[in-house]
Amino acid sequence: MSIGATGTDRGAWRLVAARDFRVRLRERSFIVSTLINLAVISVLIVLRGVSGGGVPTFQLGVVGQSPAADRLASAQGLGTVRVRIVAFDDAAGAIEALRSGGVDAVLDGTSLTGLHTIPAPLHLGLQAAEASLRIEGVIVALGGDADDVAAVSDPTPLDAGVLEAGGPNRDQNGAIAFIGVLLLYGQLFGYGVWVASGVIEEKTSRVVEMLLSTIHARQLMLGKIAGIGLLGLAQLAFISTFAISLAIAVGVIDVPGTAIGAAGLVLGYFVLGYAFYASLFAVAGALVSRMEELQNALVPINLVILVSFIISVGALDDPDGTLVRIASILPTSAALAMPVRIVLGSAAAWEIALSVGLMLSAAAAFVPLAGRLYAGAVLRTGTRVKLRDAWRAAA
């Protein structure tokens, strides 16, 4: 017979999850890790804003009104230059702003003034805008109609293209992918370690024995994984929201759609990756009895995640390499490698579907195995429990 096999309370894991979520939310280490994450991301974003990735942006001082400046400013779709107009009432004020660095150049009627130089894209853009305005004036004077005017005022009369397209905004997407994979790595590893150390805390304090008199070992493990995972997800959502808002505010990204999509990917792949790794972390925690032994027990899992991370950082340069493609499909590394390829536009739909399918199946297969190992090991203190013994103890 099997005592305790009859009757279960399927809701008890929620109590466990709620406790783990609540307790850790108030822990110093959680608050500190959130702040560190925010700080690192802020530095990355602000540095990028200063070094001026993507489309160059200029502040143009305009004295009075300038149709050419308005034309250039409104034709942002050109994608080669961005202009923000700073209006001045008189030339003196505009020149003062130019000297103090408030604007990059001053346009007063038809005179364009720079400090030491006039930035070339700004210069060319303004000349082109002024030229097209004059041509439009001539067409109207010659009796041309609106269609003729529209024909010359088309800001992109040439179809621009490249032989080897890197996808739109590849540079910017690379940055987003890098931040994403960095976050995912930190989050998967950090929260995995929390699961393992949470298991050890219950084991060393023997509170697990109290808990096991009210709840099955598997439910206890799942509750802990769920509670800590939810906290990780919430933290990630908070950090992503902060990062996107900051990036928009400092003008690093002008296509928030991609960043929001990438944030969604990071959240989704955190759930998948965590579902895969967390039960392994829980077993590692159950096998040892003291925090000091945890490092050793975690080495194999550590290594897998670290190698996946290194491959994924490599994928930023070459998302189509064979190793990267394999890594993005294997469940052991897909959580880090696949989102990079997706953001860089290199993953085919079938590859994504396959990797998600494999991760879900692997997690579904691992959780019951891990549950049994956990149940067999969590009551045993003293020396490190061998996997084989844990397996047989829970038979």
Binding site: M1, I3, D9, R206, L211, L212, L379, A393
Partner: protein, 301 residues
């Protein structure tokens, strides 16, 4: 009443329990004694469903016990078990909810027990900040948070000061006498078991070697012991009485073991013929002595 029936459990090649059966009647306090490693903790863990038995059964009120029934039991593990960094009331409330209480009920019960067990601390203190004695009281509060229908306590008295022992003993007696809860606890403090318990279960090497009231255990031993002090008696004076044998030489006299057919009155007559009898009394063996005898017999067997 709680029944353990034919429990067997092995760990690898070690046999921890080899057919353990005993009963804890409702309203009774049962002491569970045995040497370290005899199987006490394993049996209690199985009774609580923390560990599975290889064979055998636990019944409560005649019904086999399942996980949802264990939630109505109260348990105090040997090495204790509380989250060190969680606050006292929060912890009690959490454990209460795992036992099926609502949040409000769990908190209210936590406060009551905190007062009843006279914990000298604040409800918002972290458990790790409490003295060991107070931690132990909180541990008992955790075991009783849901007004359990059974109490299974592994070494509840170890490490308590005399005041703590008294508070704990009073509470256990109240639970047993007042609410009719079957209470079983293990202990190495045999004098305490003797003082408190209605019955004793003695386990050795995974088997129950004695089970009953202490009086019954004493009676089950074939020999009576008499302490006799006689002034100026001759050497081996008792040998004229059939069935009397020397058990122990004491400073003022001797302790004699009498077989069932020996006549104490005849022994007294012989003693008085020797000189002034200053002491003549039956020696009640303490539980500790009985324990030693049972264990020695078991080891010799």
């Amino acid at each position: 009443m709680l029944e353990l029936i034919g429990l067997h459990r092995r760990f690898g090649d070690t046999v921890a329990l080899d057919g353990v059966s005993f009963t804890v009647p409702s309203g009774a306090l049962i002491g569970f004694v045995g040497r370290n490693g005899a199987g006490k903790t394993t049996a209690m863990r199985i009774a609580m469903g923390v560990l599975q038995a290889d064979a055998g059964e636990v019944r409560f009120r005649g019904e086999p016990v399942g996980m949802l029934d264990h939630r109505r039991f109260g348990y105090m593990p040997e090495e204790r078990g509380l989250y060190p960094r969680m606050r006292v009331l929060e912890q009690l409330a959490y454990l209460g909810r795992l036992h099926g209480l609502t949040k409000d009920d769990a908190s209210a019960r936590g406060r009551d027990l905190f007062a009843r067990l006279q914990v000298e601390a604040s409800l918002t203190d972290r458990v790790e900040a409490l003295s060991l004695g107070n931690q132990q009281r909180v541990q008992l509060a955790a075991a009783m948070i849901h007004a359990p229908e059974v109490l299974v306590l592994d070494e509840p008295f170890s490490g308590l000061d005399p005041t703590g022992v008294d508070v704990l003993a009073d509470v256990l007696l109240e639970e047993a006498r007042g609410r009719g809860v079957p209470v079983v606890f293990s202990s190495h403090q045999l004098d305490l078991v003797e003082r408190l318990c209605d019955g004793v279960v003695l386990i050795d090497r995974g088997r129950i070697v004695a089970n009953g009231t202490i009086a019954a255990l004493r009676r089950s031993r074939s020999r009576d012991l008499l302490q006799i002090d006689v002034a100026g008696a001759a050497d081996r004076w008792w040998e004229v009485v059939p069935g009397a044998a020397l058990e122990e030489q004491t400073p003022g006299g001797v302790v004699l073991a009498l077989s069932k057919d020996a006549d104490p009155q005849r022994l007294l007559d012989v003693a008085r013929a020797q000189g002034d009898v200053t002491h003549f009394a039956r020696v009640e063996k303490s539980l500790a002595e009985l324990f030693r005898e049972f264990v020695d017999e078991d080891t010799a067997a």
